[in-house]
Subunit: 285 residues, 2 copies
Amino acid sequence: MPTLIINGKEIAHSIKKQMTTRINYFKTNHHINPNVATIKIGQDPSSDLYLKLRNKACKEVGITTTEIDFEASISQEEVVQTLIDLNHNNAIHGILIQYPVPQHIHQFQLMNTISPQKDIEGLHPHNLGQTLLGNEYLVPCTPLAVIKILEHEAIDLTGKNVTIINHSNVVGKPLAVMCLNRNATVNVCNIFTKDITPFTKKADVLIPATGIPGLITKNHIKKNSIIIDVGIAATKDGIKGDVNRTSVDNIAAKLTPVPGGVGPVTIASSIINMVQILEHNTKNQ
Amino acid sequence: MPTLIINGKEIAHSIKKQMTTRINYFKTNHHINPNVATIKIGQDPSSDLYLKLRNKACKEVGITTTEIDFEASISQEEVVQTLIDLNHNNAIHGILIQYPVPQHIHQFQLMNTISPQKDIEGLHPHNLGQTLLGNEYLVPCTPLAVIKILEHEAIDLTGKNVTIINHSNVVGKPLAVMCLNRNATVNVCNIFTKDITPFTKKADVLIPATGIPGLITKNHIKKNSIIIDVGIAATKDGIKGDVNRTSVDNIAAKLTPVPGGVGPVTIASSIINMVQILEHNTKNQ
């Protein structure tokens, strides 16, 4: 059977459609004008593109974006003060920092300064701790996208072998705990893993996120597995994922393509978090 | 080669000795009388014993304990109010709740109410989030004990295959992220895992925490592996761990016994957290 290619754009579209309905509800019934502040420090071509796509998605669903662009030379103190002001600004519901930030900026302090109630990236320690405890509320967008895709494909993770190739703070670690929250058996490989094959070969659900184009071939995978390709790399042949699509065809049951797979759903996931914030705020009104 | 039995009591003794020196330093130089409030709700024979051992360990290292015993029928509100009072009480440096708590008590709310600065169990969402981010400060005591034992045995986790059999909030999930923070390849099995053997057999470091006495036999393990047995069960033949010690002998390189392995080090680990709090407080003075 040819491998079914999961359409990430379609899933993202369907999420955005649902979110639009809910956002309109807040606008009509609570007279809220949902507004996300996006902070960009310096220039970075790939993250500029990402931010542009995020802002476009916000517009589509009826969220206003307030863009704050800092020069790369901005001081830590000024960024922190801006975040504190945004935390206190009732017209701002969510705050997003576009990573990576320049080297002299302490990323952890920024994550920690954003109010956990406005943390639409789900990276504040309090939100990450709640995610670990299984009280998922605002969760990191890429792991959320993976979960949303699996839900869309009606894949129950209970008892499934999930292998993640990434152990970063924004992808691998939160995704691992989210899969454990859903009672999967979870394997997390990383750059120090001597041989990933025994782990990838056992995976019912394989989630590579290495940025090494074409790393995953037919030799790595289990028959009828689901592959959610989080990898992304710019090559001379265009944007490529971690999976060699030709090689795994007819072996994997389903595969997300790159581009058009996890990417669009990740952008839609930040809107899910925004709606969570709006619901939480109006519940407490 | 006969399997080397790791002496948890000795490791705990050595930790407590180091901590005593540091605690005496705070007493002499900062005129602090370190004081932990321990909260017990209702009766539970095994947790009563555990609390007794913890209080004894505190006494040994020079920490005062303030014991607060509630009837099982206490209301959530009263416990929460007590925690808030303790958070504001400058004479109290750490707060510990003895789990399990009666069913009508919402454990998550209690974890959330303890000030993250006094959370000697490392279970506040903020501290768990920091642990996930690799900023380990106050971490859950059982995972910390496992890490301390591995450090004592000079086992570098980088690139090692670690298999954990437990996916709870207090053991499996925080331990998994702590092993990932140390660049291990991590496999987490749980009650929904159809067959643990392929995962246990590949483990350089195997950490069972199921409470099923004798679950792990020679058929499960890799030659020369290290087994840190977190399981504990009261049987008619006494306290037993997850590992069938006779069966794994001569195959595992090292094994922690039950009792006398992880247990005493877990108790010593809550004292490590207490010293972390004292150091943090005096740094900010």
